[in-house]
Point group: C2
Chain length 148, copies 2
DNA sequence: TCCCTTCGTTTACAGATGTAATCTTAATTG
DNA sequence: CAATTAAGATTACATCTGTAAACGAAGGGA
């Protein structure tokens, strides 16, 4: 069987690097360093370390270009985003996720298209949505301890 | 001025402890340990460490009850959830957040009430929603590098 | 009163993360 | 060809996190 494929974890700082490469499609270290030095107070070696860790983690691939490397994303941006958010949500109380998502939507700037897509998605869920989602914080269900 | 109030960060393992205390409203260490030993392969000392760190961080308060302590949450569950999710979202490309939220909603079990609240929230945003949200991954905007 | 249980505290230790200096090597330039 | 520069690799180090053993004090039971 294939190598055990544990989801790649990208740290906050590493996320900045990935965003550059995802947006540009590919980039050499000079480009990444120049861009990140503008956005943060990071020194070049710091950024090199982050790039190195991302390559080791398998989040970035390298192609030799003369003396340098060209870095390309090996994982999809949207998939990484979805995974990180679902991961975070999954560790929270199932009963309160809905409310939290309302708060998140309220505070997030969304395009008309996004809003429409979200509405469509919800409209589709509405008919089959359960009357309530139980709290899953305790081993034996909520046993009346938690009120919505 | 008051003590600098840096938002409290709760790690994954600590989150498990908080969920118990949030759900029960308050709990002594015996209760927390018993419940978590059922859910995980953690030893009692591990859980004690987590409780201790949460107290030090200011996420849990203590009240002496004879020889023991009663732990109570000092931060709100919903606020912690909202904060963690917004934090995660905020470090991602603004242009792609909407799509990610669609994926998250698709994969999250929501009650009818949640779905309705979400729809209401979106209906309210729709009129004023911008036609598009720009990518904010590069210092000077996207300069055509990123297509939606 | 003396031992055992229990609680909370202290110490331990490896891996991840943020942050960066140093070094090696190859290329650039005068 | 020598000196400088730039790229990637190696090393550094404090903090946070996951995971836990060990320890000291306080109570409870024999």
């Amino acid at each position: 069987m294939a190598t055990t494929e544990l989801a790649i974890t990208i740290s906050d700082a590493e996320w900045r690097v990935m965003r550059i490469v995802w947006t540009l499609g590919q980039a050499d270290s000079r480009t990444i360093i120049d861009l990140l030095e503008q956005q943060h107070d990071w020194k070049a070696p710091t950024i090199k370390t982050l790039i190195g860790r991302l390559v080791k983690k398998g989040a970035l691939g390298t192609t030799k270009n003369g003396r340098q490397f060209i870095y390309t994303p090996l994982i999809k941006e949207q998939a990484a985003m979805d995974g990180a958010l679902l991961n975070e949500l999954d560790q929270m109380c199932a009963m309160h996720r809905g409310t939290s998502l309302v708060h998140v939507l309220e505070q997030t700037e969304l395009s008309k298209t996004d809003v429409q897509n979200l509405i469509d998605c919800l409209a589709q869920k509405l008919p089959t949505a359960p009357d309530m989602v139980a709290c899953d914080c305790l081993p034996n269900g909520c046993e009346g301890s938690c009120e919505p």
